[in-house]
């Protein structure tokens, strides 16, 4: 807790709290990162579930790189946003749910790539297990967005 209070008093945190431009610019970065991570993930899951089956999953690995870029942007912008308001955020159940969803969504995505294995050619149809992992992945990432959105309503800066 002392650490979180200290974080809130750092110049970056103060700047974020005082300047609406700074605060919402950070949120804008966070939204771009979200689109890259969740957008790419939704497309991969749709393909695994049978949409556009002539699409090569090998090509979707390009999105994997972009998704990692988005994740990196959001880890940084998220940390900066967290630092500005850590004391309230750690205690916020929606924030806890969001972080849990991101971790579980990440594990599910890792499991999905494992289940896909070497079968990345166009036209490949995935088995029921792989499809179940794709649904699970979708579920956690959508939940992360829902929980993230509700943080704004369960606490105000």
């Amino acid at each position: 807790m002392e650490f979180l209070t200290w974080l809130e008093e750092t110049p970056t945190s103060q700047w974020l709290v005082e300047s609406t431009w700074a605060y919402y610019s950070m949120l804008a970065l966070h939204a771009i990162g979200m689109a890259a991570v969740v957008g790419g993930t939704i497309m991969l899951c749709m393909r695994v579930l049978g949409f556009a089956s002539s699409m090569a999953v090998a090509d979707l690995e390009r999105l994997r790189l972009i998704a990692w870029g988005g994740f990196f942007i959001n880890a940084i912008s998220g940390s900066i946003l967290f630092a500005a308001n850590g004391v309230k955020l750690v205690a916020n159940s929606m924030f806890q749910l969001k972080i849990a969803s991101i971790i579980l969504g990440g594990v599910a995505l890792w499991a999905l790539w494992r289940a896909i294995g070497p079968n990345k050619e166009p036209g490949h149809r995935y088995n029921a297990t792989t499809k179940a992992v794709a649904w699970t992945t979708l579920f956690f990432w959508i939940l992360a967005i829902v929980a993230g959105r509700y943080i704004a309503y369960t606490m105000k800066l």
Partner: protein, 167 residues
């Protein structure tokens, strides 16, 4: 009809009453708007990256199958966007960032229209494995750039919101 009369009309509609009166309506709309944004951008990434010359194991007409997915995402966001506007018409109409966002969306739409009318027929005739010409690639790069700018403008809306309240 003056601006004030227009705002009054909007605020008198059942949709506006619902958006203002229901505690969850705005939040749920906003959540859907975020999900729609991910669907739109994810699908555009596939289409535009394919046109830019990446993802070549996939035939281009298959990548273009993701255009209806993008339109689906856009439709979610168009409808939820209308619900936002109806919750606070004056707040949005007097916010310059809102008009910037709308202009960017129209620009993205014109770019998509140009692509569909002039580039797509040529793209589909291009032999497999061959790169598309510069105009096609410029349109694809612009598309991604403009959609990202739309996200930024949308997220910055509250900053330039005037006295007509947040929305």
């Amino acid at each position: 009809m003056t601006a004030a009369q227009f705002y009054a009309w909007v605020l008198g509609t059942p949709l506006s009453h619902f958006m203002v009166g229901d505690a969850w309506a705005f939040t749920i709309s906003e959540t859907l708007h975020f999900i729609g944004l991910c669907i739109l951008l994810g699908a555009m990434l596939i289409v535009d990256l394919r046109l830019l010359g990446l993802m070549k194991s996939t035939p281009v007409d298959v990548a273009l199958n993701f255009l209806p997915v993008a339109i689906f995402g856009f439709t979610i966001n168009f409808l939820t966007g209308i619900t936002f506007f109806f919750s606070n018409p004056e707040g949005y109409a007097t916010n310059w960032m809102f008009w910037l966002k709308m202009s960017l969306i129209i620009l993205a739409g014109l770019n998509a229209l140009y692509f569909t009318l002039f580039e797509q027929p040529r793209v589909l005739r291009t032999p497999e494995g061959q790169s598309f010409d510069a105009q096609t690639r410029v349109a694809a790069a612009l598309s991604l750039l403009i959609w990202v700018a739309v996200i930024v403008a949308g997220r910055l809306l509250p900053v330039t919101q005037g006295e007509a309240g947040t929305g």
